[in-house]
Structures are given as C-alpha cells and as structure tokens.
C-alpha cells in the first residue's frame, strides 16, 4: 500500500513535470531562437538554433504590435515547417517563401505560442519581419473555425498578400488531436500600393 502510494506520487510528479516541461521548453526555446534569428539576419543565411535542430528561424511575428515604438509586447520567432519538432519551439511556417511573394501560412500550438490568438480581434494589426529585415503589416480581416476533416488550405486560392494563422480549437480543450482549427485571416496593409508599383 505504501509502495503504491509512493508510486502514484512519483508517477504523478513525473507526468506533471512533463506537462509543465512542454510550455517551459516553448518559452525557453524562443529565447534561444532570438539569438539564432539575430544571427541569421546578420549573416543572411539559415542558422540552426542548435546544432541538431532540423529547422531554422524564417521570420518574426508580432501579434500585438505596440504602436509607440519597437517595444513589441508579443514577438515570436517563426520556424520553418510545421512538423511536431518545430512547433514545440515556435510557430511554424507551412507556406511562404523568402521573396515575400504569395501567401504565408503559420501554424502554432494552441497551448503555447498561439494561445493569445484567442484574443485577437478583427481589425487588429499583425507584423511580420522577414530575414531581410523588412516589416510587413497585416490587418485581420476575419477569424473562423474550420473542421480539418472537411477543409484543406488551398494555397492557390489565397490572395498573394495574405497571412493565415492556424491553431487548434477550442482553446481550453485538453484533447490533443481534435479536428477543429481556429484560423485567423489577415491581409497586408498597403497591398494596393504594392500592386500599383508592380504593374
């Protein structure tokens, strides 16, 4: 009985520790990624944040830009790809390239980096910085909940200057592989200007 009690305690601690480790890792990794991002901006090449990483920073995303200056309140380093490995450390860029051409789709974990997506409202602005250092601003045009069993992201149908943020839904669920996704759809501000220059 005593052993059973001990075992339960130890096991529970282990599980709890593992559960806390995930958000902790996500938090710490962002700090490490800041360094890698700074380096990749300085050297203009892909810099792996740690030698065995299978992904690298590709952009910086600011969810709630502070208009007063660069004191951005929530800045995230976006990694390449949206496989389990990269999402554990930061939001992953599923679609999009360096040339700023075409749509960008970024996915992030509901429990860690993209938790604050819940509070984003239509009309709010987002900022995305490319490796070259240029900032692009996006305005949220809509948010929606989709069922990933029936819906797919159709890349070719998205306008060129759009940004999609994807995370799991509902936000407070404990189910890890639910079918619903929360999609924030944003359009670049000043895309008309860009179009004029192009033509």
């Amino acid at each position: 009985m005593k052993y059973l009690c001990m075992l339960t305690t130890v096991l529970s601690f282990a599980i709890l520790a593992f559960g806390l480790w995930i958000p902790f890792k996500a938090l710490v990794a962002q700090e490490l990624l800041e360094l890698a991002w700074a380096e990749s901006q300085a050297r203009q090449m892909q810099v792996r944040p740690w030698p065995w990483a299978d992904t690298w920073p590709v952009a910086r995303l600011v969810l709630q830009p502070d208009e007063d200056g660069d004191g951005s309140r929530q800045s995230l380093i976006v990694l390449d790809g949206a496989h389990g490995e990269s999402l554990a450390f930061g939001p992953g860029q599923v679609v999009g390239g360096d040339q700023n051409a075409g749509p960008t789709v970024i996915a992030g974990h509901r429990d860690t980096h993209f938790r604050s997506l819940e509070h984003l409202e239509t009309g709010a602005t987002l900022k995305l910085q490319s490796r070259g250092g240029q900032w692009r601003s996006f305005r949220i045009s809509s948010t929606r909940v989709v069922d990933s069993r029936y819906h797919r992201i159709n890349e070719s149908m998205l306008p060129r200057d759009s940004l999609l943020l994807v995370t799991c839904y509902p936000f407070n669920s404990i189910e890890a592989n639910g079918p619903l996704r929360y999609v924030v759809y944003a359009e670049a501000i000043g895309s008309e200007l860009a179009a004029v220059v192009e033509s």
């Binding site: 096991l11 529970s12 709890l16 909940v145 029936y150 994807v166 509902p170 890890a176």
Partner: protein, 708 residues
C-alpha cells in the same frame, strides 16, 4: 472535502501537527489547481451538445457525415448507353438533414428522369425551369417535405439537393440518363466518372462576406462566378465512413454485333456472354469512387462495323441516327511544327505529372528530322523551353528530354496564357514557313487534367486564336475533366484522348499520334434524302475527321427511306464519297434525346462564342434551350429536375442541418491542398493528470497519517 474536514479534528503533538497542517494546505492548493484545469473539460463537454453551429463548414458539426453510395445500371444498345444512376444518401445522425452533393456525369449525358425513393414511397420527379425548381424546393424544404432537386452546373457536373432526410434513414435518388458510346479505332468505349479533380478558379476572389466559404472550398471569382458550386470538398478515402463513397455496377451490352472482349484499364471486370448480349460487373463487387470507370469492348474479328443506321418514332416524328467509319489509311508525309503544352499545376501532382511527362517524352519520339518543335509548361505562369520552335535535332531533343524530366507540379492553372503562347507563337498561321522554305503543319498537343472552372472562356480563346493550327488534348489522371478535353479539341479542330493508367498510356498515345500523322477528312457533308429534314440534322457542321473516328449525325423528320450521301475532301484534294441506304435502319432508343441534346449544345455553343452574327440573342437562346429541355424532359443549364413528397415528414419543431457531401480525391493525385497541421500538445492533459494523481496520493497519505 477531505482537507477541510481534517481541520476540525482535535490536534496532535506539535511537530506532527505542523507538518500535517502544511500537508493539508498543500492539498488544498492542489485541489484548487485541479479545479482550474478540470473546468475547461466541462466547458468543452457542454459545447458539444449543439453550440458548434457557428462552424464555417455548413457540415454536420461534429456529427458523423452523410453517407453516399452509388449504383449504376447500364444498358448499352448499339451506340447509346442508357444508365440508371442510383445515389443513396444515409443520415447516420440524430438530426434531420439536407444533403448537397456535387457529382460528375459523362460530358455528353442527357439526364431525362428522376425518381426519389424514401422507404416504400416512390416519388417521380418532373422537369421544371431552374428558377421555379429552386423556389419550389425551398418551399417544400421549409415545410418539412422530402424533396430532391438535380441541377446542371457544367455539362459534366451536376448537383443533387436533397432535403429532410430523417435521422437514421436513407433516401435514394434515381437518375436516368443516356450517353453516346464512343467508337474509335475499332473499339467501343464507355466512361463513367465517379469523382472530380479539384478545379482551379482563375480570376480575383469576389469577397461576399458570409456567403463565401459556403458550399465548397473555393469562393466565387471574377472569372468563375459559380466557383463555390463546382468545388465540393475533396477528401481522402480514409476520411469517409466505411461503406460510404462506394459504387456498384451492372452493365449489359447489346452491341448489335458479336463482342469479342470487354476490358477496363482501371478496374477488374467480370463478363458473362449470353447470346448477343454481355453482362458486365466489377469482380470485386463494389469499387471506391475515386477514379473514372472505363469499359471498352471490341467487336469480334472481321465484324468491325463500317456504318450503322438507327431510327425511332417519338411523338409522331421520326428520328434517325447514322454513323459511318471512313477508311482513312494513307499516311501523310508533310513536315510538322509540333508544340507540346504540359500542365504542371498543383492538381497534377502525384501520378498525373508522371504520366504527363511520360506522354510528352513519347510525343518527342514521334518527331521526324524535318519537324520543328517546342515545349511549353504552365502553372501560375507559362514558360517555354525555346523562344521559337526549333528543328528536331538530336541536340535539341536531348535538351527537351532533360527539361521535361525536371518538371515538377505546383501552383495554379492559368491556362489562358498557355493557350496564347501555343497558338500565337507565329502569327503567320498554321502552315508555317521557316527560312528553309518548308511548309509545315502546325499541331499543338495539350497535356492536362483540365481542372479549371472557366472552360467556356478558354474555348472562346481557342476559337479566336486557332488560325489553321490544330489542337489535340490528352486527358491525364484518374478523373480528368473530359468535357474540357472533348470541347477544347473540337474548337481546336483536333481530337482528344485520355490516359487512365501507365499501362494504358502507350496504346492511347500510339493511337493519338497515329491520327495526328495520318490523313484528315475535311469539308464533310452529309446529304439526307429529305431536304426539309436536312435543316434539322445535328451536329450541323461536322468537324474534321481523323483516322479510325466515326462520322455521325442525328436528324429529325427523316423517314427511313432513300440514301444518305456522305462526302469529304482528302488532304491531296481528291473527293471521298460514300452512300448509305437508310432502309436497313434498325430501331433505336432515345434518339430524340440525342437530337435534343445536340440541338441544345449547338445553341449553347453560339452562347459561348457569341460572335456568330446569325446567332440569336442570349435571352432567345435561354428560352429555346428551356423549351427543348421541357419538351424532351432534359436537364439543361436552364431546367432542373424536382421531386417533391406531398406530405410533410419533418415536424416543424425539429431543426435541419445542411451537409455538403464531399467527393473522393482522385486516385494517384497528391492532394494539392494542405491539411491543417496538428496544433495542440499534450501539455494540458499531462498537467491535469499529474495534478489529479498528486491529489489522490496526497489524500491517501493524509488519511494514513491521521490513522496513526
């Protein structure tokens, strides 16, 4: 509970008491933490009941999706196949449901009947003007009556709307249609499409607030205003419930002549000969609706037909269908300028692009030393290998082969610019003159799956820019858009073929390239003995004819007597002539529908092109097509079938959920659309579990402590 109770108990000696106090405090905090984590679970559970209706998907929320299964009963008589297509929709949920299902039919299908079967009841459908049908449907739907409506979106794309399916029950929709059997190079072919390749919608998205994202994945665009209606969600076979999206087929072939073999490139068939008719079914029983079912049969050796006449009396009018196969055998030796256009859009990813590349490489092999050639690829952009067509020298061919092998499929399907590039490469026209002074015949081979939404705009482009070039289309993939293939080739004065699998590729291409190199019969005229019937002969203008292809026309008001005179001009300028006695006409079925369908197509062609000065005005075309549709009971762009139950079955208090039934992704196609990634971790679950366990063990520990 436990920690609070313990506070009121008498106290023990000081050290133990303090420790216990601390333990009790900890467990109290743990309990609070646990509550915080458990609360979301409750929130989630309560949301499941029916609050998820704000889902963008008009689908059934988290209920299991509507199941659909299909049964084909095909009767082939001569050159016409009569099909009874039965779609069964099963509602496995607890709520009443409306199913919306976009499905393909053969491009030449004339749908002439609809029956709805709900349990024991059988409700016959009637043809209505589209708008009227829509209103009556909406009315019956809100009144709770079972109602079904079938509309045409494209000549090969239809939509079933079926409202008020009771929970736990099924309703079957029976569609009757007929389609011509394709006969070429000594082989009959029948194609039954079961799914569609997701189509690309060019143009700018017309943002229309809430209505966007409704029926399908695509939003209406400037070039395709009905994009949302022709883009059902495509899912993988493992995404649908077991037993859904399965089809069965029973087919009987009465070719009117002995049939030697029946085959299919994509399915295993079981055939039974019974006198002059053959019963065909798939050996596996049911098959997944993820590819076209193609059935081919060949007449016994020495029995190859060279002509056929069928006749039918319908409402006091006589209808005649004549078919003839001119024996064109001579090979032409003219030098050619061949332009290969290959579709490298995202919808080609997977098996399709491999087949397309193989086809193109095979095409390069047919080039002779005098020929010029070029390779153009297109997706969102168009790129050509050479600026101008180059001689087919070993060097150039090697370069082209390397280029073709390196092609990859991604991006959109902007077909218009590719057509421009292929057709307009040299303004001088078809017989191109190069510095060496050799006259060359211009031919364009267009290799694509045709998955675009703006077909008619493209046909218009082909018609305008064609000049003397000929356009040949090669359909690729498990479910190519055959309407596009056939019509593009017709407007391009060429012919079309489709490749279903790699094993089939060699034969189809050999046939196509053979046709391209052989003589073409032009200026074809069919003279019916009755001059007044001549006016109603359809198609009115017969296109050019390639080797192995039949010549056919259907006529109204011609009695089965006299001789039909057929003439044409061979490439060397000589006249080809043949006559056919109409007295031996065999009796046929549904010829009036064949005629009506041809007549409707002719009217809509004028609509598509809209430049023929003799063509009636647009509104006039719509009225005439509507009248034809109502007279012959045919679905057209302006007429729909509607079947309404008389008695309401859904109580007014019960709500109804709409469900867009998805179609299967064609086999071998890599999904061009991304799946949403997995974006949640196990962290909250582990945290909750860990805390729960800690709480449990702390409680036990405290109990034991107290027991001491």
């Amino acid at each position: 509970m436990l920690p609070t109770c313990s506070l009121s108990r008498p106290v023990s000696p000081i050290p133990a008491r303090r420790v216990r106090r601390i333990m009790e405090d900890i467990s109290l905090w743990l309990a609070v933490l646990l509550f915080l984590f458990v609360q979301p679970m409750y929130a989630e559970a309560s949301a499941g009941a029916g609050e998820l209706r704000f889902l963008d998907s008009p689908g059934p929320g988290l209920e299991s999706a509507t199941l659909v299964s299909t049964d084909y009963q095909v009767e082939v008589t001569g050159l016409v196949a009569d099909v009874r297509l039965s779609q069964t929709f099963r509602n496995p949920g607890r709520q009443w449901r409306e199913a919306v299902y976009v499905f393909p039919l053969p491009a030449k299908a004339s749908v002439y009947g609809l029956t709805m079967m709900a349990g024991e009841r059988l409700i016959r459908g009637e043809i209505r003007e589209k708008e009227v049908a829509r209103q009556q449907y909406a009315k019956a739907r809100s009144e709770g009556r079972k109602v079904a409506r079938v509309d045409q979106q494209r000549p090969n794309l239809f939509t079933t709307h079926l409202a008020n399916i009771p929970p736990g029950e099924s309703i079957a929709i029976d569609l009757s249609y007929q389609q011509p059997v394709r006969y070429q190079s000594g082989e009959f072919e029948l194609r039954l499409p079961t799914t569609l390749t997701p189509r690309y919608m060019p143009g700018k998205v017309v943002r229309d607030g809430a209505t966007a994202w409704q029926g399908g994945w695509a939003s209406p665009t400037t070039a395709v205003p009905d994009a949302d209606r022709i883009s059902p969600h495509t899912v993988l076979p493992e995404d649908v419930a077991a037993g859904s999206h399965q089809a069965t087929i029973t087919m009987s072939i009465r070719a009117g002549l002995p049939v030697s073999r029946v085959s299919s490139p994509g399915h295993q068939l079981a055939s039974n000969w019974n006198g002059n008719s053959v019963a065909v079914t798939t050996s596996a029983g049911s098959f997944a609706m993820d590819r076209d079912l193609v059935v081919r049969w060949a007449p016994a050796r020495g029995m190859t037909p060279s002509a056929a006449v069928f006749q039918q009396q319908w409402q006091g009018e006589s209808y005649l269908l004549a078919m003839m196969i001119p024996g064109l055998e001579s090979d032409q030796q003219m030098a050619r300028e061949l332009v290969f256009v290959i579709d490298t859009s995202g919808s080609m990813a997977g098996e399709s692009i491999a087949q397309a590349k193989q086809s193109l490489l095979r095409g390069l092999d047919t080039l002779g030393p005098d020929d010029l050639f070029n390779v153009i690829q297109f997706n969102s952009q168009t790129a050509s290998l050479f600026i101008d067509p180059v001689p087919a020298s070993g060097n150039n061919l090697a370069r082209a082969r390397r280029y073709v092998r390196s092609l990859e499929a991604e991006g959109g399907t902007e077909m218009a610019s590719a057509l421009d590039a292929a057709l307009n490469q040299r303004k001088s026209g078809a017989v191109s003159q190069t510095p060496d002074g050799v006259q060359r015949l211009r031919q364009v081979v267009f290799i694509t799956d045709g998955s675009v939404g703006n077909e008619s705009a493209l046909f218009q482009r082909i018609e305008q820019q064609l000049g003397d070039t000929r356009l040949f289309t090669v359909g690729i993939g498990s479910a190519p858009n055959m309407y596009f293939m056939r019509e593009a080739a017709r407007f391009g004065r060429g012919t079309h073929t489709a490749i279903n699998s790699r094993s089939d590729l060699e034969r189809r291409l050999a046939e196509l390239f053979g046709k391209m190199q052989s003589a073409v019969l032009t200026n074809i005229r069919m003279e019916w003995p009755d001059a007044s019937a001549q006016q109603s002969a359809r198609p009115h203008r017969i296109g050019d004819l390639f080797r192995g292809e039949p010549l056919s026309q259907v006529v109204r008001g011609q009695a089965p007597q006299g001789d039909l005179q057929v003439s044409g001009i061979l490439p060397d300028g000589s006249t080809w002539q043949q006559s056919l006695s109409l007295e031996q006409a065999a009796s046929g079925k549904g010829l009036h529908r064949v005629w009506a369908r041809q007549q409707i197509d002719a009217l809509l062609d004028a609509h598509t092109l809209g430049k023929d000065p003799q063509a009636p005005a647009r509104g006039d075309i719509a009225t005439r097509v509507t009248a034809l549709g109502l007279e012959h009971d045919l679905i057209t762009p302006y007429t729909s079938f509607l079947a309404v139950d008389r008695t309401p079955s859904r109580p007014e208090s019960a709500a109804m959920a709409a469900d867009s039934v998805p179609t299967l992704l064609p086999a071998g196609l890599a999904s061009g659309m991304l799946r949403y990634p997995q974006t949640a971790t196990l962290a909250p679950l582990f945290q909750a579990l860990g805390l729960l366990g800690l709480m449990f063990s702390a409680a036990i520990g405290l109990l034991k402590w107290r027991a001491l």
